[in-house]
Structure formats: structure tokens, C-alpha cells
Assembly symmetry: C2
Homo-oligomer: 166 residues x 2
């Protein structure tokens, strides 16, 4: 059997990272599928519009900057519109083109930073848990947050794929 | 900092396992929420019924027995109804009670087996990849399949949660 150049922990971290990136790519593909007007439709009658779910997922990735201690959100205004408020509460939404730019910029920066992280850094705490709590709950680390974020993406991708475009 | 009793690879494997279990629990909770008749409704007009998605996710977990080399599917008949066929193609479906029993039985067996696996076993190949291909693509291991299965669960949970119950 070929010996991998990565140690087992790095190998497992790599799987989680690839999983996150593949779900990001799936969302990118979905957002490039229709014309912009289609994204103003609800994914199911009375439910969130596709544009809202897109903005919501951008805000969720953007939250990883402060959560991982990398700095501030890049697009703090998106949190107000797509995370703190429900769909239709805010009248003027950014354009799909601007949202796509934000999505691309955030993911490019995150991907670059993630790739440079060691396995040790991945299993270290994130900023939402104190040093003291982390000693009792060592699973509250960055990798766990990434797995959660990946599943959050999958959850809303399932909903987005119900969009009926005429 | 407290030293974990698990080595880093085991710690990371544990995160993935907990993530899979938490998504299974979320589905169990969802399936205990309404009366059985509610699950005959479509999650969105013209889309899959909740019972179909439930059966589909049971069949997906059941497929882990042969995929991981543990043996045969426990409920092979579910694959035909909920995986090889689309919703509404098969007229007579198992009852919700029987599906819940299958779900519980499969997950109990899988969880027990998973907990006994070493980190080394997790990063070893699954049966859908040959020894030869695995040497070129070492990411095609059991842990990766588990991450994929967890996201598959999240994807359909997102859809199930759109169910409107009157």
C-alpha cells in the first residue's frame, strides 16, 4: 500500500476541508445556473427566496473570520440582512452580482488561510469558546465548526434545489 | 491546556462520528414530530413526500454495511423502493412504524460497529474502491464516505423541514 505523505490527522483534516470546498462549489454552480430574476423566487411557497438563502450562506462563511480569530467579517452588512433578519424583512437587497463577488472573495481568502493551517491549529479552540470551557469540551474546535458549517451548507442546498424555475 | 486522552487522529474521527450521529438524531426527532399521515405529504408541491425521503435516508445508511464490508444490507427491499425508484413509482410503501424500526435497528448496529473502529480503519478504503485505485486516491476511505453520508442527511433534512403540516 502506498504511504501517504500526510500524517493521519492531516489526512482527516484534508477530507473535512475538501468536503467544505465541494459544498461551496455546489452552491457556486447553483448560483450560476439561472438568470438573476429566478433567485427572487421562493424555494417553496411561503418559504425563503433563493437570494435570501444565498446571502445567508455568504454571511455564514463570513462569520468564520471572527470565529477562527482571523479578523473581522468582510461584509458585516450581510449579517444584518441575511442572518439577523428573516427573508422579506429588509426591502433593499444587494444585487446577485454583488453577492457573487462577496461569496467569491470570502471563500478565496478562507481557502487560502485554511490550507496554511496545521492539524494542531484545526483541533484548537475557536473564539466562541473560552479557554476554560475548551478544557472541559475539547471538541469545540475549529474543525468541528467547519464540519457544522459544511452541513449547514448542505441543508440549504437541499432547499435551494427545490426551486422551480419556469 | 488539558491533554485529551485521544490522539489527534482519533479526536478528529470522533468529531466526524458525532456529526453523523447528531444528524441521525435530528432525523429521528423530525420523524417523531407529527402523526403518520403527515408524512404522506410532499415537502413542497410536486416534490418528494416526507415518507419517501425518510425511506431514502434509511436505505442510504443501510448501504454502509456492504460499503464498509460489514455484511449485507439489513433491509434490501428498501433500496428498491426508496433508492432505485423515485417517489410514487412504488405503490405499497412500508408503514411509518416499520420504517422507524428499520431506522433504529440500522443505526444502532452501525453506531456500535463505528465506535469499535480504530482511526486506522477509518482511513482505510471502502469496498467501492479497488486496492489499486485506492493507492492513487487514498481519500476514498470510510471516513470520507461518512462525511458524505452526513451531508446527504443534512441536504434532505433541509427539504423535510419545509413540510407544511396543517
Amino acid at each position: 500500500m502506498m504511504t501517504s505523505t500526510l500524517d493521519p490527522t492531516e489526512q482527516v483534516v484534508q477530507l473535512a476541508l475538501t468536503s467544505w470546498e465541494s459544498r461551496n462549489s455546489a452552491l457556486t454552480e447553483f448560483m450560476n445556473k439561472y438568470n438573476d430574476a429566478a433567485y427572487m423566487q421562493e424555494v417553496s411557497p411561503g418559504r425563503n427566496r433563493a437570494i435570501y438563502l444565498f446571502g445567508h450562506l455568504i454571511a455564514a462563511n463570513d462569520a468564520l473570520f471572527p470565529l477562527f480569530g482571523f479578523g473581522k467579517r468582510q461584509y458585516p452588512e450581510l449579517e444584518q440582512i441575511f442572518s439577523k433578519n428573516p427573508d422579506k424583512a429588509v426591502e433593499n437587497l444587494p444585487s446577485i452580482a454583488d453577492l457573487k463577488k462577496a461569496w467569491e472573495s470570502i471563500n478565496k481568502q478562507l481557502s487560502g488561510t485554511f490550507k496554511a493551517m496545521t492539524a494542531e491549529e484545526w483541533i484548537d479552540r475557536h473564539t466562541a469558546v473560552s479557554e476554560e470551557d475548551f478544557q472541559k469540551e475539547p471538541h469545540r474546535n475549529k474543525l468541528n465548526a467547519l464540519l457544522g458549517r459544511t452541513n449547514h451548507l448542505s441543508y440549504h442546498l437541499g432547499q435551494l434545489n427545490l426551486l422551480s424555475v419556469n
